[in-house]
């Protein structure tokens, strides 16, 4: 009783606390409803498909669905000796269904990926089945083994068993130039076939050096822009903003013109006598081209966050440092530089993340030695149509980006990102 009298009531007679909570909940729902359309749209068209990339990258259900009886009967097989009559019989009945559906080619292809040599023997078996040569009243095992000597080889049956699980890590291993061998151990592919690891390393290397170059070039000009009087800095800012707003392909095109052998840069080198006219260096279709073009294209993303941070640093701080006896270098290093670290972090993160997923510029000016992992993803999406492999590589790249992003968030805080 005494509790109720203490409660403050609104004019409607409802306790104030409840009434406020109600209003609060209403506001929450209102705010959420405003965000809901975009959130829903993104979840359906973007977040789910990224999840789908994952299921696609580990999916191996096709063969599981093709040979259901075989895998069922293989469950009891120890995998050391040739399987029993029952396994052979169920394999044949699965195979007959596939022949009817004209899907035996797909099976051969999939098995051949697991172990070389399946193409031939599946074709041979297909011919026997087609001509009704296999008599089901007699031992099916004996008859299949007669089709080709490889059907008598236990390794091929082990290979079939390995394809049983509906999920596989094969694509991820392949992206790192590894595979599961006969004993289910992770093995590296032979040295001359390790192409993906080179691409990963090159991608990280290019992204890292482009970030470093952008930082080295971006820091001085951001400093200049932030310290010059407004009327000059606004003019110079155009040099940063115009490339920023200009199409990526336009800028790549202009680098292709500048860097070609008869191009302006080489002309200039010849003019100042750096190289002789008939010995012009190749600057395009290699790493030099990739570095130069990517640095120029990504530089604004470094300068803008740096500038917005530097703009907030009062010049009196440097003066105070100097008046307290620091040389300009010491004052810069001890006072100014630490204050710009959020800007450096934001700029480096932006440039690194953009550079690591770069595709267009390396493909155009990079030549063979300038191809990065993104080019490989695009190649598998568009040319080989191995979408699950492309998904696997894409997700590995995404994982890397998220780790960097998380680290950055820990070290600097994402709230420090500013767009100009």
């Amino acid at each position: 009783m005494s509790n109720e009298t203490k409660q403050i009531l609104t004019t409607d007679g409802i306790p104030l606390e409840i009434s406020l909570k109600k209003a609060e909940r209403k506001n929450k729902i209102k705010a959420f409803l405003l965000v809901a359309p975009l959130l829903l749209f993104l979840i359906i068209t973007y977040i789910f498909p990224i999840g789908e990339m994952f299921t696609r990258s580990i999916d191996d259900k096709m063969i599981t669905n093709m040979l259901p009886k075989t895998f069922k009967s293989m469950e009891t097989w120890d995998g050391k000796e040739l399987p029993s009559e029952e396994v052979f019989a169920s394999f044949l009945s699965d195979f007959k269904i596939l022949v009817e559906k004209k899907e035996h080619g797909k099976l051969a292809q999939r098995l051949n990926k697991e172990k070389n040599g399946f193409n031939t023997i599946t074709k041979k078996l297909f011919r026997q089945v087609k001509r009704n040569k296999i008599d089901e009243t007699q031992s099916i095992k004996e008859q299949i083994m007669k089709v080709h000597k490889r059907w008598r080889n236990v390794e091929y049956w082990q290979a079939i068993k390995r394809t049983a699980p509906p999920y596989t890590s094969a694509k991820y291993l392949k992206a790192m130039d590894m595979y599961l061998n006969e004993d289910n151990k992770i093995t590296q592919v032979s040295e001359d076939r390790r192409i993906h690891r080179i691409l990963w390393l090159r991608t990280v290397e290019v992204a890292f050096f482009v970030t470093v170059f952008c930082f080295l070039m971006g820091y001085p000009i951001a400093h200049l822009l932030a310290t010059l009087p407004m009327k000059y800095s606004n003019l110079l800012m155009i040099c940063v903003l115009l490339p920023f707003w200009t199409s990526l392909l336009v800028r790549t095109a202009s680098w292709m013109i500048l860097l070609q052998q008869q191009g302006v840069v080489n002309d200039f080198f010849v003019l100042i006598g750096l190289v002789s006219d008939d010995n012009r260096p190749e600057m395009m279709y290699n790493k030099v081209g990739t570095y130069v073009a990517m640095t120029q294209i990504l530089l604004p993303f470094m300068v803008l966050p740096l500038y917005s941070v530097m703009k907030t640093i009062s010049p009196s701080l440097m003066r105070a440092g100097k008046s307290l006896g620091g040389t300009p270098f010491v004052a810069f290093w001890k006072v100014y530089f630490p204050l710009t670290i959020p800007g450096i972090g934001a700029g480096c993160l932006l440039v690194f993340i953009l550079a690591i997923g770069y595709y267009i510029t390396p493909a155009l000016v990079g030549g063979a030695s300038g191809t990065l992992i993104s080019n490989q993803i695009a190649y598998h999406m568009k040319t080989t149509l191995d979408w699950s492999f492309a998904s696997a590589m894409g997700l590995m790249l995404l994982g890397g980006v998220l780790v960097i992003y998380w680290l950055y968030n820990k070290l600097v805080g994402v709230d420090n990102i500013k767009l100009g």
């Binding site: 209102k30 405003l34 903003l241 790549t252 013109i257 995404l398």
Partner: protein
């Protein structure tokens, strides 16, 4: 940037070195854009400065490649330009509407799970484009929207909204919410308040977000490469194919037009930024 008289020689040298570096970087940034201008007026087919051009001989210059761009036989630029503009305009409209409404909700202090929702909304900006491309392609292929304008527009809305969300939330962070309460107390309904009070105040932010979205869509090539069929070709796709096959002066003519367009966008973005700062009372 005049140095005081008492500056020591080594700092003087350092200062000139610094100015030299800055000059070099500014030239590095802007010069590539200017190489395209003169070469696009080249009378010849080669992409190098001819002797005539170096001597400023008027005969060495011509509008040949611009004519080729507009009237050239079986040239794809007309269709590409039309598609690019249609797609970019619809994508911008979509991004602006969805992004602004979401930003209004996000900047409300009642918004639950703000952090994670914000992270989701701007994720298309952080995820590398090639991955977005693959994911969006999977969705569009399933929805039967691959190789349609609708599909590309939707894809560009995905990529464009983060910019709108970021610019509009930034504008709203300096927004005085008492004006909307004042409007409500005077009997205005929420929609009316938004149209008559909030929107005019945040308009610069909305438009500059829209400009970002427009440019994103207009320049976008990675996702379109996955999605576009022959009929959906856009300017970036044509440039990409052109640059891969053979660098022709016609591409330079197109590039020049694009630079002019980006200059216009830059000017409007700058004007808007200044107006927005003035409206929000930020004086620098």
């Amino acid at each position: 940037m005049a140095l005081p008289k008492y500056t020591e020689t080594r700092y003087r040298i350092w200062h000139y070195f610094y100015i030299a570096i800055c000059t070099f970087v500014f030239i590095f940034l802007i010069a590539p854009l200017f190489v395209i201008f003169p070469l696009s007026f080249n009378a010849e087919e080669f992409l190098v400065f001819s002797e005539g051009m170096k001597n400023l001989d008027p005969d060495a210059f011509s509008l040949r490649w611009y004519k080729d761009m507009v009237y050239g036989t079986k040239n794809p630029w007309g269709l590409a330009a039309k598609n690019s503009f249609i797609i970019a305009i619809f994508a911008t409209l979509g991004s602006v509407i969805l992004g602004t409404v979401a930003a209004l909700g996000l900047s409300s202090r009642h918004m639950p799970f703000k952090g994670i929702i914000m992270a989701t909304l701007i994720s298309p900006m952080i995820v590398p484009l090639i991955i977005s491309g693959v994911a969006i392609f999977f969705f569009m292929a399933k929805a039967g929207l691959a190789a349609t304008h609708t599909g590309i527009v939707l894809a560009h809305i995905i990529l464009g909204t983060p910019f709108v969300v970021i610019t509009v939330t930034a504008t709203l962070s300096g927004f005085d919410h008492s004006v909307t309460r004042a409007a409500a107390s005077l009997g205005s309904n929420p929609v009316n308040t938004f149209m008559k009070v909030t929107l005019p105040l945040i308009l610069p932010g909305v438009i500059s977000g829209g400009l970002f979205a427009f440019v994103t869509s207009f320049d976008e090539v990675v996702v379109v490469l996955f999605l576009a069929g022959l009929e959906n070709t856009t300017i970036p796709i044509q440039m990409w194919t052109g640059l891969r096959e053979q660098l022709s002066p016609t591409i330079l003519a197109v590039a020049t037009c694009l630079i002019v367009l980006s200059t216009l966008i830059l000017i409007s973005a700058e004007l808007l930024r200044r107006r927005s700062e003035r409206l929000r009372g930020i004086n620098r």
